[in-house]
């Protein structure tokens, strides 16, 4: 029995246990302070779907052996670019969709998703070639590749000749705005589709069905992919490269596929995120997003070498739930201090550090 508990404890790990306990404590705290727990839960559900696909992007990258993809910003900028094109072409308000706003919005969203996913796939392939050259220090390199891509795209955002009034500054100013409203295109279209409210329509639990279904659809597709021939080969290449080579798997090719897939998912993920948020955040906003995604999948129970779909679903829920619920509670307890950002930093980076110290294999075991 004791052994069972010990094994269970080791499989969860101390930080995850702390975070889980913390989450429960915070939930009780929210109830204790008479907060609107139902509204908080609606928010948790929304954020769960919002961040889900971005976090899902970590699975193929971890499975194919490049580790947590800190450079997911590469996919993010592709997603932003795709959305900008969709807005610029004003697909939501084309004459074909006249009279049917929902269809127009969905089409514009799908256009952005497909376009950016395709671009991201090619970008990801190039990125995969680079990561193949730097085996053993993928995480370090990808972090800075991610940073420099954001900085490079900042230059592009300033210089690209956008014509749409939604993108340009209203008066003066250069290039694209800092935050671009999606009200004219696909703002909250997924959230609204098939959504329903449990209980009172004003205060009840709002379930963003479309958003969650979209998230779960991608999880399911990823699950299918991982069970497919290519997916299994990819996981094998990540788990044990030399064994994979011996069994005739082209390791480098598998790593490129994993990276490209991860980048594409990043692009889809940011569009999902943006439509739920209602705005596109340009410039330096996505700089640290990669860290949050890595942290979420690690909280879910993944390591730097193994990740499952369930880790994504659990991790995103726990991480976002904790942030959503803890913020108002913390503000009640410590009046006048905004602890949410601090907490996000400490938790997300703390869990990454923990995962790094637990990482076995690769460069860590030189001796």
């Amino acid at each position: 029995m004791n052994k069972h508990i010990k094994g269970f404890y080791q499989s969860i790990g101390l930080p995850r246990l702390i975070i889980l306990l913390f989450f429960i404590v915070v939930l009780f705290g929210a109830a204790f302070y008479d907060m609107d727990v139902v509204a908080l839960m609606s928010n948790v559900l929304r954020r769960w779907g919002m961040y889900g696909i971005l976090v899902l992007a970590m699975v193929p990258s971890i499975q194919c052996g490049i580790g947590p993809n800190f450079g997911v910003s590469l996919g993010i900028v592709c997603g932003l670019f795709g959305s900008l094109v969709a807005i610029e072409l004003d697909i939501a308000n084309l004459s074909i969709f006249a009279g049917n706003q929902t269809l127009g919005a969905w089409m514009s969203l799908l256009f952005a998703v497909v376009l950016s996913a395709v671009i991201a796939w090619f970008v990801g392939m190039g990125y995969g070639v680079l990561l193949n050259r730097v085996k053993g220090s993928e995480m370090t390199v990808s972090t800075y590749v991610g940073f420099s891509v954001i900085a490079f795209m900042n230059i592009l955002w300033v210089t690209l000749p956008f014509g749409s009034g939604d993108i340009k500054w209203p008066i003066g100013g250069e290039g694209a705005r800092n935050t671009i409203s999606l009200a004219g295109s696909f703002s909250e279209i997924m959230n609204k589709t098939g959504s329903f409210t449990i209980g009172d329509p004003e205060t009840g639990l709002f379930v963003p069905t479309g958003l969650l279904l979209f998230f779960f659809l991608f999880c399911f597709l990823m699950y299918l992919f991982l069970k497919s021939r290519t997916g299994i080969a990819m996981s094998a290449a990540g788990a044990n490269p030399s064994f994979a080579t011996a069994s005739g798997i082209h390791v480098n090719k598998m790593r490129i596929i994993g990276t490209a897939l991860s980048t594409s998912l990043g692009a889809v993920g940011i569009i999902t995120y943006a439509q739920a948020f209602g705005f596109l955040q340009m410039y330096n906003a996505p700089l640290m997003m990669g860290f949050a995604c890595v942290a979420a999948v690690l909280i879910g129970g993944a390591s730097t070498t193994r990740a499952r779909i369930s880790h994504v679903i659990i991790g995103t829920f726990l991480f976002q739930g904790l942030l959503v619920v803890a913020l108002p509670v913390a503000n009640k307890v410590l009046v006048g201090t905004d602890l949410s950002d601090i907490m996000r930093m400490i938790i997300s980076n703390g869990i990454i550090l923990y995962a790094l110290t637990k990482a076995k294999g690769g460069a860590a075991n030189e001796e």
Binding site: V134, V145, I155, E174, I352, L353, L356
Partner: protein, 488 residues
């Protein structure tokens, strides 16, 4: 003899060109800088004086990175933690109301134990993540920032009562966004006069020599030490000559004077060495060429100051002597450290931990010491940086410290495994020149200064990404080659 010297010069010049060419990063940045300078539309004096002031501010921090590189810890993104230690110290010193040199000394004294403690902890963490120190350092920097914000936003005022309206947010919990250092710590190091500096150094050296005499009972050694003492006494006396003390009483040195003094000292040094070699030792020494070269370069440098354009620049720039002295001292320290047993241990550990272990070196301990040193130096560097800047942005001053310092070091041609003082200094000059000129050039060329802003951030991240990728590339090729050999 003359032929000899000519061939020596030729060899040196071709070496230099080869070095620059083989170091593509340096070459690229050199071209970028020259292009940038020529398109700023600002007078050269402005650019150069900006670069000099940024040089005095940032070089110490960059030099703090060298030790961990040698110890095989890679680029230490964790110097941010050292900067935080300094900022904690500065906050308390400002709060207690210490000003000027006293405040500065207190800052150093206060930050030292904090930084060593932090360095120890970081070292422990790095020992747990061997081979992944750099990514650990990056994440650690953000993690530490979270803790730092918690300390400054909540603990200060919330737990530790702090009563100060100028420092705290209105509610009394949490520190304000910016702390003005004008009137307390601003220029506290820069404003120390040469006279004080010179006398302090002389006295410290005097005490050291005296201690040496007392320890060593050897008579011959004693005599030479005693002559040193007398020389020091004479030099100390010189500082009391009215003209000298008046000249040295200032804290800023015109670049013109600095160049002149350096040239004169170099010429004297060269001549003394030459005379020693030729007349006293009477050896056929190939080093002769070196000293002739030093003298020639010094004369040319001095001659250049008579060119009107350069003369104007040298008059426009004045250097804070004390800050530059600390930089030179740190360069000396880095070199000295390598000659000690500890430094050699670090190098061994850096080259191969396996070899180091079998040679009986305590790898973990050496790495922790390297981290402590680096963090400590980073803390001091941050104090120098902030006292020169004059405003202490509580939540932002540390955030870019690591990245800028690392990018500067890499621009100078350093890599993840090799770095030295020269590369650090060259890198700081190139990187900050680009930093100064980029916005102006971009607004001149594209009509938008925003592009320049983003461009320099891109350069900063890009150069780090490039260097890391290039390093990883090389190390991947190397083990593959080694493996192939071992199979045979």
């Amino acid at each position: 003899m003359k032929n000899n010297f000519l061939s020596y010069t030729k060899k040196q010049c071709s070496d230099l060109i080869k070095n620059i060419y083989s170091n593509k990063v340096v070459l690229m940045f050199l071209i970028l800088c020259i292009f940038g300078i020529s398109t700023t539309g600002k007078p050269l004096t402005y650019t150069i004086s900006e670069v000099f002031s940024r040089f005095s501010r940032n070089t110490f921090l960059v030099l703090a990175l060298i030790i961990p590189v040698l110890a095989g810890l890679g680029l230490n993104f964790g110097i941010v933690v050292g900067a935080m230690a300094a900022q904690i110290a500065i906050f308390f010193v400002v709060y207690w109301g210490f000003t000027g040199v006293n405040g500065l000394i207190l800052c150093v004294l206060l930050s030292t134990p904090i930084a060593i403690l932090f360095g120890y902890l970081v070292g422990r963490l790095y020992n747990k993540t061997k081979g992944a120190e750099m990514i650990t350092g990056m994440v650690l920097a953000y993690f530490a920032e979270g803790l730092y914000m918690f300390l400054f936003l909540f603990v200060l005022g919330g737990v530790i009562p702090i009563k100060s309206e100028t420092l705290m947010i209105d509610g009394g919990v949490g520190v304000k966004n910016t702390i003005d250092l004008t009137g307390n710590l601003k220029y506290s190091l820069d404003n120390i006069s040469m006279l004080v500096l010179g006398r302090t150094i002389l006295i410290v050296y005097f005490v050291l020599v005296l201690a040496n005499i007392l320890i060593h009972k050897n008579k011959e050694a004693r005599n030479s030490q005693i002559s040193k003492l007398i020389l020091l006494g004479v030099m100390f006396g010189i500082t009391f000559i009215p003209y000298v003390s008046q000249f040295m009483g200032t804290d800023r040195l015109l670049l013109l004077d600095a160049v002149t003094i350096t040239c004169v000292l170099a010429i004297i040094y060269g001549l003394v060495k030459l005379i020693l070699i030729k007349l006293v030792k009477k050896e056929k020494d190939t080093d002769v060429n070196r000293y002739i070269a030093i003298i020639l370069v010094a004369i040319i440098a001095y001659g250049l100051t008579y060119v009107p354009a350069i003369y104007a620049i040298t008059l426009a720039v004045s250097l804070p002597v004390c800050t530059y002295a600390t930089i030179i001292l740190l360069c000396g320290f880095n070199r000295w450290l390598l000659s000690t047993k500890l430094g050699q241990d670090m190098r061994t550990v850096g080259q191969s931990r396996t070899v180091a272990t079998s040679a009986g070196i305590n790898v973990n301990k050496t790495r922790i010491i390297a981290m402590c040193l680096s963090t400590l130096l980073a803390a001091w560097g941050q104090i120098i940086y902030l006292q020169n800047l004059g405003t202490f942005s509580t939540y932002g001053a540390h955030s870019m410290v690591g990245q800028y310092a690392i990018a500067a070091l890499l621009v100078g041609g350093a890599s993840v495994q090799m770095a030295n003082n020269k590369q650090a200094i060259l890198g700081v000059i190139l990187f900050h020149t680009l930093f100064v000129v980029a916005p102006f050039s971009a607004s001149n060329l594209f009509g938008s200064s925003l592009i320049g802003e983003y461009f320099r951030v891109f350069i900063c991240y890009g150069v780090i990404a490039l260097a890391l990728a290039m390093h990883a590339w090389k190390t991947v090729i190397k083990p593959a080659v080694a493996k192939g050999k071992s199979k045979k």
